[in-house]
Symmetry: C2
Subunit: 265 residues, 2 copies
Amino acid sequence: MKERSDADFIEAGDAAACPPCIAQPLFVLVQPSRAGNVGAAARAIKTLGFEQLALVAARHRDVRAQPEALAFASGADDVLRAAREGQSLDAVAADCGVLVALSARVRDFGPPLHGPDWLPQLARSAAAQGRRVAFVFGNERAGLDNATVYGCDALLSLPTSPQYGSLNLSQAVQIVAWEWRRALGGFTLPQGPQAEPAATRAEVRELLEQARRALLALGFLDPAAPRRLIPRLERLAARSALSRQEVQILRGICRAVLLRCEQGD
Amino acid sequence: MKERSDADFIEAGDAAACPPCIAQPLFVLVQPSRAGNVGAAARAIKTLGFEQLALVAARHRDVRAQPEALAFASGADDVLRAAREGQSLDAVAADCGVLVALSARVRDFGPPLHGPDWLPQLARSAAAQGRRVAFVFGNERAGLDNATVYGCDALLSLPTSPQYGSLNLSQAVQIVAWEWRRALGGFTLPQGPQAEPAATRAEVRELLEQARRALLALGFLDPAAPRRLIPRLERLAARSALSRQEVQILRGICRAVLLRCEQGD
């Protein structure tokens, strides 16, 4: 029960109320070999409102200052520069309480395997217990070694195509950040375009009546064989959810047709 | 009603039964300027089982053969090489029936704005009407121009951080592919590690009894002031969901403690 009440913010979608242990998880890259991926990972997490990056035994010395890393970080160079660096996972994740290893491969004796649907549950339990969450990503080619995976609390797998499932490292980071933000309630959508005032039912009926007269004048509607033309137009009008202004434009077109037909007679 | 019955595959998560108009949507990059992003987009969609890429007025001539594009495509060079190229959106998306523009910016008179939660509904209606879906992404810096957006049927926005929402182009493609795959029912998770046979309740009780004896022998458990030590261990054991083998290991440890205590006496 305690767990529930501590984690109500998740159900409420209230990201601002998330405790820091889950609001700012640590994204750990173990032995990343490409500086571009390190920068792209910084950008990926920042776009979802996260800022804690850690690097374990990166291949490039001082990778955070590499031009390629900075170029890929784009406006997230602050996240890149602030990244923790260390020679072991234990060193960089010492303050974390739940280590989640990203891995497509399942191992005997490994920690339990979960999909992204498990993340909301993880967020609730980590928040209730005050455990800081870390997501641990392996090297671009080799992934995570067994010893690292055994030391983690859970395995997270991102289901991809059975034919070609090879996510780029920074893309995997992007998806985990995206799914974690969703688990915390998500960001709100910007307001859509201001809807125009809707046409009333009476206005639409007047339009249809004027259209009927114009189609008769055109000779397109044959009163002897109407062929369900008017019911079809009624259905189209209903589906289109016309605005008042659109009805006025369409009535103007009908009037122009009627005028032209009268002139021709 | 018809729409429902045509789209039952989505509720059933049966991606194999999806009609081609939604199973293979077209991912269109309008005026992409970086060859690496084009290659990374090819890889991104292939990891989610999609293979239809189109390029409108790419900045690099013959971008599909650029070494940078091929390097970022990695094992998705087939998708990259097969991409449609054209000078206009109409030219490359002529066979599509629903054009979805990716855009964070809302425009007056623009098409209606949706978030990713709308995609399952789009999949159902597009399948029911046999409309092929296209996702349209703009240039890295400038996004999509107004004329292109007005020509699309809907706007899709990926909610990102209000402080820094700038997704890299290929990362946006990755998220849309990820969400579209989810809308189609998703890929299945690999099988988790084979669970070891669970310990029975009787085996756990024997372990706890042996632990009690070992702790008494150690002098750690004081029968005069037991301090809820045993109930705590019971609770820990229950939460740990012990396997039979783990119980045997723990009983072995208790035995070793008892033996050492007897030798010491």
